[in-house]
Symmetry: C4
């Protein structure tokens, strides 16, 4: 019994939801489970197909990317996860996919406009899309810089990572997070659905407006506000 | 054995068809089963995933939103259901989903044009889309006002709720109903299909006309008119 | 044992392929199995969901729409099937669906252009789309006239029903046929795929040309010509 | 026990992945397994549905299209496979499908632009699309000339078949290859996904740029370069 068996198990189960939800093809995508108290996270090993994945294959690292437990190479996106955990103490799960519609918006280099209450049930603004990374950063510590892109974009736009749990990396794809790996995966699936809905709405009506402020507030607050009445107590 | 066990059972089974038909993601959507004689309806509890749903979780309320049976919080859209049952004595089931193409049209703030016989087999006009709600109503008794939006839109456009069993709420999504919860769910699935077909037709030919009157009448009447010859006697 | 048990069985099995192939929703669609020697055909009963369908429910009629065997009402499209069998002695199966992309083209009132070899492997011209029916025919013997639309369109355009086994009825949807009910269903599935491919190609490149004559001939002949070398001998 | 039982088995299993991955309808598509040492390859028989396919049905031929083992007619595309194996000594598997989005691009006669890192993870340039074949070649040794189209396109554009393992044949569809039949099938699935993503991106933003050079290099190199760190050692 290792110290982080539970973390690995949670991480494994959350990863296995990605193919179930149709969010990944082959080895694309990765989910991590964070333990803020111990300053570590478990993550999927790199390039292993989901159907061959085992709980014991999960790799445990600290937030400076040192391997604590595990024999395999961690996901190539590990440094992005590490830096997000290090900076955002309120998150315990991160999910990264190459889901089709979310990637399409990222490749189009566009934020996903908030157009309906499905979106407002989850966040109150457009789903942000980071600017394209500069060449020197790409050639430098790339995956580390990917996290910096997210952190800087959130800071310069005064976004709250606990209210906005998703982002598109320009030309790459989505990262989502939350207070558990399951919530991060949930956000990946919701983001993909919002991406498809917004796509279709703008094909139907290129002049369709953003959702009005009162509706945004109403839907966001009824699910997330202090007087929220969505779900069970 | 409770008085409304049968109603709960019907309600539960109709709700479980939504994920089967691919019309919902996670906890999105809700179906209710109405009992007009006793002035009550059973509805899905709020925010419970379909795979965890149990018959006994269904909540029974009267048409003024008083809970008659059940321990859980009812769906956040309960007041919309209640007011529709109260006003439309001929319905015994209501279904609400966030299905992708129907939501896309709602977000585009456009009625779905009647373009073919698949549509005319079910209703003889465009699928109506309510106007956007005013801010004071959104900030007021929102879910109650959502039903009022529907009722007012049907009244001011002289629509018959027994001939037009579906509507889009601008920026939100579809509500459908019928003489049973199963019929309401059936209408949700049909609406989603009509929404996709109309979308594709207009992408292929932006100038494609509405279905001509004679074809609308023929198809609607052969299924719903007094000399209907579709289906078994 | 009835005289047409085998015909009913073939008809039943071909109908059950429609939901398997994702070509129908609920009771939409119908397949018939023709017996040209005896001048009869078996067809799906009207409005019966596929999951409840039984072999013995199939209705057998002659080509003048007289019921020969069966207790149930035949499909509302029966007269269309009957007249096609009566006129086209070389066919033994007809399939009618409301599959999404085929209906979208029918609603757009456009023939599906031949744009690739997948199309040319099956037919050498655009998939024809009949003109819209006149009001007096719609109000007359509608389903009978639907067959006349097809027959007239094929005659006036000198199309060979054994080379072109599919057609779109404007604002309605596709009919396909062949030397067996299975071949008719096969053609329904192929038509849906061709409809989607042509749709996407024109979205990518609105100026994409028709397939050139030499490629049409090559692909059509290698599968259907006298020196065909596709498939087993 | 035949000399090429293992080759047939590998070939059979790779073919069976095509329907599993949703890349083929009916008998469309074919995969071959090459044995460069013995100068032979096993390929799917022509026109046999996947659900009826058996290991022993695979046909073994040499690179000049002489049948070495097998009773059935090989795939009608056999000569295309043969000539590719003969010229490209580094490949041991070829896959050909009529997958929807890849065919749509081929019918649009357009290369698939490299727009994101999902694409760059697999190849560093646009997915090439061959020019339309001349009439005399179509009427000549067509399937042999299809391979020549690919070989010539790669040569005249100085493409490396070990770096670019996929191509679109104008108006036809995709061919993919690799160091094993499984890798070839993997490339078919990846190509279909890239084709859909690029399609959607350009629908969202017709002016979306190609992926910048630094990002292409970074993603391609981290997976395929000499210092690759994607996957397990």
């Amino acid at each position: 019994m290792g110290k982080y068996d539970h973390l690995k198990d949670t991480c494994y189960k959350a990863n296995m939801k990605l193919p179930e939800l149709g969010l990944v093809l082959y080895t694309f995508g990765n989910v991590s489970a964070g333990d803020q108290e111990n300053g570590v996270f478990a993550i999927k090993p790199s390039g292993v197909p989901y159907e061959e994945l085992r709980v014991q294959d999960m790799v445990v690292l600290d937030f400076d990317n040192n391997i604590i437990e595990g024999e395999m190479r961690p996901s190539s996106d590990t440094k992005t996860h590490a830096l997000l955990y290090k900076n955002w103490k309120g998150i315990s799960g991160i999910s990264h996919t190459h889901s089709t519609y979310a990637v399409a918006w990222a490749q189009a280099q566009k934020a996903i406009p908030i157009m309906g209450t499905t979106h407002a049930d989850h966040l109150a603004i457009d789903i942000p899309c980071t600017p394209v990374m500069s060449d020197d950063k790409i050639k430098g510590n790339y995956e580390h810089e990917t996290a910096n892109q997210i952190l800087n974009h959130f800071e310069s736009n005064q976004l709250n990572y606990q209210e906005v749990e998703m982002v598109l990396i320009s030309n790459h794809g989505p990262f989502t997070w939350g207070n558990s790996p399951d919530k991060a995966v949930y956000n990946s699936a919701v983001l993909e659905e919002l991406a498809e809905m917004a796509y279709l709405s703008l094909q139907i009506n290129p002049d369709a407006p953003h959702l009005k402020k009162a509706l945004i507030q109403k839907h966001y607050e009824r699910k997330h506000g202090k007087d929220a009445y969505y779900g069970q107590k």
